[in-house]
């Protein structure tokens, strides 16, 4: 008997030899948990969902849902028998039925499940009331994506698979839906796997995130750890939230970089003194201080609403991102000098 509600054990996902993800081991521990799969386009995320849904077969490993093997090299439970819902990224509404009928086709007549999902509530939350009488070709891509999501939710699945569920939804509306979606899923204890390439969406929705890179799961951890303690250079590069600087370990809690000098903090992993490492520096690691004698040249400034992200050039031509609150009293233009507070002390030191 498996310990988790849902498990993927040693499965290699592939369709016709393409989009291969090797030897995957991930799980949903408790019913109602949400996990996210993050990775670049074309890496095989959708293939994973299709396989879990039973639309593709596997040759090795096993997929277990509620203590029952649903896929292995010998067993393949048909998609219609799995009670797994998949909300596709592309329009998958039945073209000859109205949106209303499409959504209500999700209701399973003989469902014995005790989940009590109110279709009207879902329709209201997903803001679909005004398009219920329309046909799929008469609505926008975002609306059809939401309708498809509503249909999947109403079907009261044991496992819900969402493939880029909000990719076509307007930015202004996206955050509200993310909040509402998470509430519905939690309230109704619907275990969910969300595939996305938007790391913020993944970090918000998922209690755990799997990062797929180079045909394998590079990291499967909670969002905080994935962001602050990436376990490989590839994950750092994929998340693109910092840079790697060459440094030399100078003691149990310090290291030195040629441009920034001594940097202090708690090492996540032990490195012997004197060893050369690559230090991960994220935008929130350095602090602005124009009184400091450590000054770097501003080469770019990006406005990100809450923050400005300055790109600073070091003497050895490395580009370092630094976040500064937009209400900060003094802002700098490109080509100006930008002071960095010393001594540099980091919350944690991540090196490779």
């Amino acid at each position: 008997m498996s310990k988790s509600f849902f498990e993927i054990n040693n499965v290699t996902f592939a369709i016709g030899g393409k989009n291969k993800v090797n030897d995957v081991n991930i799980s949903i521990e408790n019913e109602g948990d949400i996990i996210c799969i993050l990775g670049p386009s074309g890496i095989g995320k959708t293939t994973m969902l299709r396989t879990i849904a039973g639309l593709e077969k596997i040759n090795q490993g096993e997929i277990i849902l509620k203590d029952k093997v649903i896929s292995s090299n010998k067993i393949h439970v048909q998609p219609e028998k799995r009670n797994i819902a998949l909300s596709f990224q592309e329009n998958s509404l039945f073209p000859h039925y109205s949106v209303d009928r499409n959504i209500h086709l999700g209701i399973k007549k003989n469902s014995t499940d005790n989940k009590n999902i109110n279709s009207n509530e879902i329709i209201k939350i997903l803001n679909l009331e005004s398009v219920l009488d329309k046909y799929p070709h008469q609505i926008s891509a975002g609306e059809s994506q939401r309708a498809s999501l509503a249909r999947s939710l109403i079907s009261q699945p044991d496992l819900l698979l969402l493939d880029e569920p909000l990719s076509n939804v307007d930015q202004s509306f996206k955050e509200d839906i993310q909040v509402a979606l998470k509430q519905i899923l939690k309230k109704n204890k619907i275990s969910t796997i969300v595939v996305t390439h938007d790391s913020y969406e993944a970090f918000y929705l998922g209690s755990k995130c799997a990062i797929i890179l180079d045909n394998e799961v590079k990291q499967f951890d909670d969002p905080y750890n994935v962001y602050h303690f990436p376990n490989s250079v590839q994950v750092v590069n994929f998340l693109n939230r910092g840079i790697l600087l060459p440094a030399k370990v100078t003691g149990g809690n310090s290291l030195e970089n040629d441009d920034l000098g001594i940097i202090k903090g708690k090492f996540i992993k032990h490195y012997p003194t004197g060893s050369n490492v690559q230090l991960l520096l994220q935008p929130e690691d350095l602090e602005h201080d124009d009184d400091s004698n450590l000054k770097l040249e501003v080469v770019d400034r990006k406005f990100r609403g809450t923050n400005f992200i300055y790109t600073l050039k070091t003497q050895s031509n490395k580009l370092i991102p630094v976040a500064v609150h937009t209400h900060h009293w003094e802002q700098h233009e490109v080509n100006e000098k930008f002071g960095i507070k010393r001594p540099i002390e980091l919350e944690h030191i991540v090196c490779f």
């Binding site: 849904a53 998609p79 998958s92 039945f94």
Partner: protein
């Protein structure tokens, strides 16, 4: 390879194999012995047959391009008197098969024909015969086939023009192009795949044409095949001639297929399309546009219709001599049986292809739909050859009675060959309906708990309802007009409008051919009118 083996896959495979048999029969007969007829023909008429086929093909392509593209351009881009009427009226030309057009041409222009009668009534007795031009022989055949088939070019080109966004036209204007320059440097090139597709269909039908060229006594490869079978009883040689003709047709078929693939790029996705604003023509330009379209409409539909109507009224005894009801019921019987079989099996085959996603099946299906490219004469003869081979090789050897009577000269045989001939029409018609449903729709249904059969019955069939109706009408129209297959394979004493018209005409009784021809045109026109909204589907539908 056969990972997804299921009942749908097996059914599709079986259907494709059945349809492919006549094609294989023609190819295999290439290696058989023939009678002396081949030697005689090779030294005498073979060159003439090939040359005539080529002259006919090139001329018909030229005419159909000119009138098909010209009329499509005018009704798509301009507004002039009756332009909306011409938009659908021009497709009525499909109601007149080339052989009936040939009868009309002859009836009107022959010595003491309708033209003579009109002149006599207007200007009194005189020797008008000398001055009335004679549209027979090769030129008559070219005119008959062109006016009957230009609709293919018209429909496909017009559809392509409709899919051209106003943005494209605006771009031309922005670059300072005149209307003429916009036409040949923007509009025409982007409609090229559609025009080529239309011309390829015309080419296949022209090479397959039997009734009109036979009536005008023009010897082509197709009539050669018919003669070698009927006069010399040489099936093997008929098949060998067919093989050469098929190679020619396959080249065209590949060309058409390639151009269709390109045509996909001409469909605009939602959002980027801007509906065209039609330019209102005035004065001289408006008059010429009207005259051009009216001339084509008159020549392709009104002229043969009124000629047949005129003769039917002039010689009413022919109306009483024929058992119209029986001809109607026979035609209807064939139409219903064949359409039913075609729709059911094409639907199953399409779904089988969709759910199996099997490469072997895909190739077989592509080959099997080439039946449309094979002239009816060849198909009928290949079918007889195949049945005779089965009968001689297996049935008789096993001591059973001959099966020839079941399949040759029977409704069953006729329906089977119609099935093979028009399978591609039905298959492609349903396929284009299916192309509007992406595969995620099926998968969503499975994930909602629907089995494959339930998805087929509850999701696909309701969605394809309109496509099925359209396919049914299109197939019916073809069967009503079809001549050589019915002529060769029909049961004794079983006549349709098409065969009755042909028999009367071949006995030089054109007046008697008028009644069945008139009924054929009227019934076909009715079918066209019912389906016109599907044939002329606009972009916003």
């Amino acid at each position: 390879m056969f990972r997804n083996l299921n009942i749908w896959f097996l059914s599709s495979l079986l259907i494709s194999l059945i349809v492919i048999i006549p094609i294989l029969t023609v190819f295999s007969s290439f290696f058989e012995n023939t009678s002396n007829y081949f030697e005689i023909l090779k030294n005498t008429f073979l060159f003439e047959y090939t040359l005539n086929s080529l002259i006919l093909l090139v001329s018909v392509l030229f005419f159909t391009f000119f009138i098909g593209t010209g009329s499509a351009y005018l009704v798509s881009f301009y507004e002039f008197p009756l332009s909306n009427f011409f938009k659908w009226a021009l497709i009525l030309s499909f109601a007149v098969p080339p052989y009936i057009y040939a009868y009309s041409l002859t009836a009107f222009f022959e010595n003491y024909g309708t033209a003579y009668t009109i002149l006599k009534n207007l200007f009194g007795d005189a020797n008008y015969n000398k001055h009335i031009p004679k549209f027979d022989g090769m030129f008559g055949s070219i005119l008959s086939i062109s006016f009957s088939l230009f609709g293919y070019v018209y429909i496909l080109t017009r559809a392509s023009f409709l899919y051209q966004s106003q943005n494209l036209i605006d771009l031309g204007k922005n670059l300072g192009f005149s209307n003429l320059k916009s036409f040949y440097s923007i509009i025409l090139p982007s409609a090229r795949p559609a025009i080529v597709a239309g011309l390829s269909l015309v080419a296949m039908e022209t090479l397959a044409e039997f009734g009109a060229v036979d009536f005008f006594s023009i010897n082509t490869l197709t009539t050669g095949i018919y003669n070698s079978w009927i006069a010399f009883d040489d099936l093997a040689f008929a098949n060998q001639l067919s093989f050469f003709l098929l190679l020619f047709i396959f080249a065209l078929f590949i060309l058409e297929n390639l151009s269709r693939k390109k045509a996909k790029y001409h469909f605009n996705s939602r959002g980027g399309f801007k509906q065209k604003e039609k330019i209102k023509l005035v004065k001289k330009k408006s008059f010429f546009a009207f005259i051009f379209c009216f001339f084509i409409f008159f020549m392709s539909f009104l002229f043969p219709l009124s000629q047949m109507l005129y003769w039917t009224i002039k010689f009413p005894e022919n109306l009483y001599d024929l058992n119209i009801l029986s001809l109607f019921l026979n035609t209807l019987y064939l139409v219903i049986l064949s359409s039913f079989a075609l729709i059911i099996f094409s639907l199953i085959s399409n779904y089988g292809n969709r759910v199996s996603q099997n490469r072997v099946l895909n190739i077989l299906s592509t080959l099997s739909i080439s039946g449309y490219a094979i002239p009816g004469v060849i198909l009928a003869i290949a079918f007889i050859t195949f049945i005779a081979w089965i009968d001689d090789s297996f049935i008789k050897n096993l001591g059973y009675l001959s099966i020839k009577k079941i399949f040759i000269g029977s409704i069953i045989g006729l329906v089977i060959v119609y099935f093979i001939r028009f399978y591609s029409l039905a298959f492609n018609g349903i396929k284009s309906g299916y192309e509007k449903v992406n595969i995620y729709v099926d998968e969503s249904a499975y994930l909602l708990g629907y089995s494959k059969s339930k998805t087929f019955m509850n999701i696909h069939i309701p969605f394809l309802r309109n496509s099925l109706l359209f396919v049914g009408i299109l197939v019916s129209l073809e069967i009503i007009r079809e001549l050589p297959i019915a002529l060769i394979l029909r049961p004794f004493n079983f006549e349709t409008f098409a065969t009755t018209a042909y028999i009367s005409a071949s006995e030089d009784l054109l007046e008697a051919a008028a009644v069945p021809s008139l009924f054929l045109i009227l019934i076909a026109a009715l079918f066209i009118m019912i389906s016109s909204k599907y044939i002329l589907r606009d972009t916003n539908e």
